[in-house]
């Protein structure tokens, strides 16, 4: 990478666990450098003292290490050749294939002018009723799974990616276990969709600070396909909690004062810069982001999920339903903020009402269950809601069910008919007359 005219510095004045400093001139903020071959980025310039953040960590770096400035911010070469390839956090191939040729674009580029955005309006079908029926996704949306580490969020996300009719699927893996990386790889190749997939992966075997580049790499590739090729791009980011942890490590090394939960004070802006890349562009392309934020013991008041919730357009919760022994998408805590843009408009007219009625009855069942646990007697209605909830969990909410929205609606109607009277479902008369068979 070194070019003949580049100046080589060999006198490092300070080294910490993540950074090193030296005297240098003519250096630009955010510029990349190599320190004994390790990639680093300029994070602070005071006079002629330049501080570099070394992505791999500073283990073994001597005070006479060779430092070369590369004259550019982290960047990615973009072209159609990206499709089907696996890269590391620096955008270098890790699949043994050749380097990608194309226009070199600096990552972490500018924001979309809000007046140029279009309102998201296209439904993304996933086949999972907990999503399509209750929390419909829309292209241009950004939404995370809030899940505990033991939940099968990566499997669900892989399913969503495969079923969603996206032109490109870009996987940004941060702190992914090698097993999960291989899982994604094999799912994508078994499905024969590798040509639609692009992966940027940082596994637990790679240094944590490198993770910080992953979302920007993935989204730079996404912007290329969405803006220049007008494609519908789906970006999967897993796990954003590990990304935030890396932010905390760096800010700690930079002596910044931590705010809530030891996170940097800029956490909200840092996360927003990533998630707000989701957009519906005026020329038809779109970027949709589905992310994973792992929780600690389901605590959503922790700074990471809390800030995320304020940025994203809803959140999806997975939960094991002990009555049916399956993982379901929790209908109470999950929310898609953009669902009303498509429900009943791009789907059948009865969609919003059926969804609300079913969730309401499911809530009644939860109340009945509490009554039962507290030793109170159940009414006939209580019993029927419990029976309904069982079927609803098994036939609709379970994540292994794969049906289209019309089937979801028809199945829900049939459950209504099986357990309830017409007036108990509280649905507009005209719709009941039409769909109650």
């Amino acid at each position: 990478m070194t070019k003949a005219f580049q100046k080589i510095y060999t006198e490092i004045t300070a080294i910490t666990k993540a950074t090193c400093s030296l005297r240098a001139t003519g250096v630009g903020n955010d510029e990349l450098a190599t320190v004994n071959g390790k990639l680093a980025q300029v994070v602070r310039i005071i006079g002629d003292e330049v501080t570099l953040q070394v992505f791999e960590g500073t283990e073994g770096i001597p005070t006479n290490a060779e430092v070369v400035f590369l004259g550019k911010a982290p960047s990615l070469k973009v072209s159609d050749q990206l499709a089907g390839r696996f890269f590391n956090a620096f955008g270098f191939p890790i699949d043994g294939g050749p380097e990608v040729e194309g226009e070199e674009i600096e990552i972490g580029g500018p924001s979309v002018n809000p007046v140029r955005r279009r309102q998201p309006s296209e439904l993304i079908a996933t086949g999972i009723a907990g999503i399509d029926l209750n929390n419909t996704l829309v292209s241009g949306q950004k939404i995370p799974f809030f899940a505990d580490p033991d939940q099968p969020y990566n499997q669900v996300m892989a399913n969503v990616a495969l079923r969603a009719e996206a032109d490109k699927i870009i996987l940004g893996g941060m702190g992914m276990t090698n097993d999960d990386y291989l899982y994604f790889k094999s799912v994508f190749s078994n499905a024969g969709v590798l040509d639609r997939i692009i992966s940027f992966v940082n596994t637990t075997e790679n240094p944590p600070v490198e993770r910080l580049l992953i979302p920007d790499m993935a989204l730079t590739a996404a912007e290329y396909f969405a803006v220049q090729k007008n494609e519908k791009v789906l970006v999967l980011l897993t796990d954003m909690t590990l990304y935030a942890d890396a932010l905390a490590i760096v800010s700690n090394r930079m002596d910044q004062i931590p705010s809530k939960d030891s996170m940097p004070g800029s956490l909200y802006s840092d996360l927003a810069k990533i998630y707000e890349k989701a957009a519906q562009f005026p020329t038809g392309g779109s970027i949709t982001i589905i992310a994973v934020t792992t929780l600690s013991g389901g605590d959503i008041t922790h700074a990471i999920p809390d800030n995320t919730g304020y940025i994203t357009e809803g959140q999806l919760f997975l939960r094991r339903d002990s009555d049916v022994g399956k993982v379901i998408v929790d209908p109470f805590r999950s929310l898609s903020r953009l669902k009303q843009l498509v429900q009943g408009k791009k789907t059948r007219e009865d969609h919003p009402q059926v969804m609300n009625a079913a969730v309401r009855l499911f809530a009644d069942a939860a109340n009945a269950k509490t009554k039962l646990e507290n030793g109170f007697d159940l009414t006939d209605y209580d019993q029927r809601t419990l029976d309904f909830a069982h079927d609803y969990s098994e036939k609709i909410l379970a994540i292994d069910v794969n049906i289209n929205t019309v089937e979801m609606l028809d199945t829900t109607w049939s459950l209504f008919q099986k357990y309830f009277k017409r007036e108990e479902v509280n649905i507009k008369e005209a719709l009941v007359n039409k769909y109650w068979k």
């Binding site: 955010d30 924001s111 700074a303």
Partner: protein, 582 residues
């Protein structure tokens, strides 16, 4: 002008060595290749000046040159701001080319070529001073007064005023002479630094006129007034944005300014898409005509986020000086506080609670105090009603931004997770929320001119019923349905009826979403009538069996056009139901 060179860079905090005088908060431009990046002075330490850059500093180098401007961050005020979409520094977003925002791209916020229909208000010989009205133009059906610039000190004599006719904003529309006999040409535009309040009024009394929003839980239970302040804290997903949009759509204001400060871009897009279509319920014209949007969404430069709320407030003060009723909404003030925190952190200031700057609560207080109802020097009145949202971390209201705001804002609309979970919208907690204005005798006097009878008494009674209902509910939960007297169930169901019929409101229903004051009066009277009755039931099941259909009928009334045939029919059914019960 003073110039300087970049000496150090940490993210968007840049140290500049200067060759001349600089002022605190002065604006400068840093030259990065051929791009000019706007920045503001935050701290001066001998020759080292610390500036915050409103853009990304990627690629900036030590030695890059800096030009100081000699003024603070300013907005350009003049006709043509209504229905525009600005960024936090008042750049017109629609004038920018391309899908992406390019750094260093700034533009003139008004239209220099547009002709305005000018009508003189002053005449030669009139004594005038800063903010005196010289004339007016029609801006989207609002009388936009052309004033003596706020920065002009002392008094002047009008030498001439342009005749009625069509003028551009830079045309001279008046000449005024100062006490030394020097003439000053006045056109339709003026500049003003955003961090300085525009004080051109004679008196700022306690506000007292109800600002109707059409939202029952506000107008009836916790009213806000013209020139009042309020805030809406709430965890994510509790309907902050929906409530805020409802207020901005329906409020009886002349001008609505929305500062989208560090929030989701798609929410701003929703305003862009809806407001040009929606009709102002008070004038019948399109909502966008009276609206100005200041958008600094969460992914736009952080430093400009702080500027955006000040830009919005200054524009609001400008319209208030014309004698207009302005409603200013900021979503969310927490994001602004976070921007302050990021800078304070980079400047290595000693942190206060949660790493926020020590003076956070003073900054919030100073900002809220710029709102208010005023009497102008010509005896007319104007107002800025300010409602800010707060996004408390983890939904915990004991955090610095919420606490700092609670000290200064007079209305508190606490959004509550558990209410939102039960889909009781707007999810404003009826017990914790308050409006201080309802205690003002001035307000009581004013509301008497609108509503007959003891309105305040009824509202207080409503709150007592709700409070009682909550207490009884807790006891029922502990002791079980049959562990308490049947009377308790009656008390509980009365409060449920008030909750469902008065407090809850469907923001997405064409009729229910806007509830005019007259209708709120009717419904509250009706419900208080029901709640004042004594009911006797044999067992608790009979209580809910009676109240459930009653609530349903009242809600159907809410969904029907006021006094329509359907409405009266539901009312009739309700009366029959009440007549048949003992």
């Amino acid at each position: 002008m003073t110039t300087g060179k970049v000496k150090g860079i940490i993210s968007n905090l840049v140290t500049v060595g200067v060759d001349g005088p600089v002022a605190q908060n002065e604006i400068c431009y840093i030259l990065l290749n051929n791009v000019r990046l706007m920045a503001e002075v935050l701290k001066v330490n001998k020759d080292n000046v610390f500036v915050q850059v409103f853009e990304s500093t990627r690629g900036l180098k030590v030695g890059d040159s800096v030009e100081f401007t000699g003024h603070m961050l300013e907005v350009t005020l003049g006709p043509g701001m209504l229905s525009r979409n600005y960024d936090g520094l008042q750049n017109d977003l629609d004038k920018m080319e391309g899908v992406f925002l390019r750094r260093g791209e700034y533009n003139f916020p008004l239209d220099e070529e547009r002709l305005w229909n000018f009508k003189p208000l002053a005449k030669a010989g009139d004594r005038v001073e800063a903010a005196s009205w010289l004339g007016e133009v029609d801006e989207n059906f609002q009388p936009h007064r052309i004033m003596v610039p706020f920065a002009m000190e002392g008094s002047y004599t009008v030498k001439s005023v342009a005749l009625a006719g069509q003028y551009k904003i830079k045309d001279t529309i008046a000449v005024i002479t100062d006490s030394d006999g020097v003439d000053h040409e006045i056109n339709m535009i003026q500049k003003w630094p955003v961090k300085k309040a525009i004080n051109v009024h004679t008196e700022k009394p306690r506000p007292f006129r109800l600002l109707e929003t059409g939202v029952r839980i506000i107008d009836t239970a916790n009213p806000i007034v013209e020139g009042g302040t309020g805030f809406i804290p709430g965890p994510f997903g509790t309907g902050k944005t929906v409530l805020q949009h409802a207020i901005s759509k329906q409020a009886d204001a002349d001008i609505v300014i929305m500062a989208a400060c560090g929030e989701r871009a798609n929410e701003v897009v929703e305003i862009f898409v809806e407001f040009p279509e929606l009709v102002d319920p008070h004038t019948g014209r399109k909502l966008m005509e009276r609206t100005i949007i200041i958008a600094n969404t969460s992914n736009m430069p952080v430093a400009a986020r702080e500027a955006s709320v000040y830009t919005a407030m200054t524009i609001a003060e400008y319209y208030r000086a014309m004698g207009l009723k302005v409603l200013l909404m900021a979503d969310s003030t927490s994001r602004w506080a976070q921007a302050l925190r990021e800078m304070s952190n980079r400047m290595e200031e000693l942190p206060g609670q949660d790493a926020f700057p020590m003076d956070l609560s003073a900054i919030i207080g100073a900002f809220y105090s710029r709102a208010g109802f005023v009497y102008l020097k010509n005896g007319k009145s104007g107002s800025i009603t300010f409602i800010g949202t707060v996004s408390p971390a983890g939904g915990n209201l004991k955090e610095p931004v919420t606490e700092g705001t609670k000290k200064v804002a007079r209305c508190f609309y606490a959004l509550e997770q558990s209410r939102a979970d039960r889909k009781r919208y707007p999810a404003v907690n009826p017990i914790d929320s308050y409006s201080k204005y309802i205690e003002y005798p001035e307000f009581e006097e004013y509301i008497h001119t609108k509503i007959e009878g003891d309105w305040i008494g009824k509202v207080n009674k409503l709150k007592t019923f709700l409070q009682r209902g909550k207490e009884v509910q807790e006891q029922i939960n502990i002791l079980g349905d049959d562990g308490v007297p049947v009377d308790y169930h009656v008390t509980f169901w009365k409060s449920e009826a008030l909750d469902f019929v008065i407090l809850q409101q469907d923001a997405f229903d064409a009729i229910d979403s806007v509830c005019p004051l007259e209708r709120q009066e009717y419904m509250l009277n009706l419900m208080m009538d029901i709640c004042d009755r004594e009911f006797h039931f044999d067992d608790f099941n009979a209580v809910s069996a009676f109240f459930k259909p009653l609530i349903n009928l009242c809600r159907q009334m809410n969904y029907s056009e006021f006094h329509s045939e359907k409405f009266e029919d539901y009312r009739h059914q309700l009366d029959e139901m009440l007549a048949n019960i003992k």
